[in-house]
Point group: C2
Chain length 201, copies 2
């Protein structure tokens, strides 16, 4: 096989599988489903991945990388703690609207699916969710340095409230097929930031 | 078959299946898995349910009924809007701690699983989540009648923030295998109720 073409095929399989797994679920999707969405034969898939598990992990990592890069880009262009957190909230709202990631937030979907059953995937979700929570704390630590946030603020508390509220609302918005719940959650999170977090700016 | 014994067997299958589906997922669990957790043969299951789909719906309804009755009992024994909402928050925290419902919140688990794939289950989740949100709004409406809550409060907004924050934290707590996230979310929700919702008591 041509090396470059093989690499492109592998990447194509990962992308298609990530959409499939994030929409239908990891355990509920079969290699036949991956064959269907890629248009490849079984051998064409196993040529690149030893098992469905290996493909699942690659697909999950791809999903979270795409989201992570988007979150990074929208927060770095903003100035100040509150604006960066607002941009991150808006970016999670964009996920609820079906932009960026078909099937909703890949972290939450994989978290719900793996928390009782798939220890390898669960470990990866663990790490990816840790990076998202740390993204919030990093913005807050910079805010403390810049004198926008009180030094004694409980960063773990703020990160949990921020992510839990938005991810929970994402689930509700996906369930009801509209963005009303997400809009309310974003409004609450922004109010929380303005009244309890970035209160020195 | 003895009618009473048949009814008991059916109920037993529903209970065991509800734990299985809530832990492993609906689509990812097979009738063989149901046979394993019930110790019954295939015919013994299909004697009571025409299909896995019929059993799935019965199991989901059973899970949400158990939770609904628990939420009802803990809130009706409390006096006043804030105390009732605190009791509901504590009850959702109990779900995160694995009490009441193995596998976490059956509403959120089924919501995440069905939102892209299973329209029949999704309709049921829709209704059950609607009842949970309405439970919050009912407490608030009583609070308005009793002069504890401002009449112009946006009840939809409060219900969304309350449920989204706690369900999102439940997902985080399940993922990390501890109740830290849930404790922070409960703290935030209680603070929200005290400072923005039940402020006239």
């Amino acid at each position: 096989m041509n090396y470059k073409k093989g690499k492109q095929t592998k990447q194509f399989i990962i992308q298609q599988a990530s959409h499939l797994f994030n929409t239908r679920g990891y355990a509920a999707s079969s290699i036949s489903d991956v064959m269907y969405v890629t248009g490849l034969k079984k051998g064409g898939i196993y040529n690149h991945f030893e098992s469905k598990e290996e493909l699942s992990i690659a697909a999950f990592e791809y999903s979270t990388q795409v989201l992570g890069e988007y979150y990074q880009s929208v927060t770095t262009t903003e100035k100040g703690c509150a604006n960066k957190l607002f941009a991150l909230a808006n970016a999670i709202e964009a996920v609820a609207e079906g932009r960026l990631s078909p099937g909703g937030c890949p972290l939450m979907n994989a978290a719900i699916e793996s928390d009782d059953g798939d220890p390898v995937l669960k470990d990866r979700v663990h790490l990816a969710m840790g990076r998202l929570l740390e993204r919030v704390r990093l913005i807050l630590r910079q805010g403390i340095q810049d004198g926008e946030v009180r030094g004694e603020l409980d960063l773990e508390y703020v990160a949990t409230v921020f992510i839990a509220t938005l991810e929970g609302a994402l689930m509700l918005s996906k369930l009801y097929g509209n963005t009303e719940h997400m809009k309310r959650a974003v409004r609450h999170v922004k109010n929380f930031i303005n009244t309890e977090v970035c209160i020195m700016s």
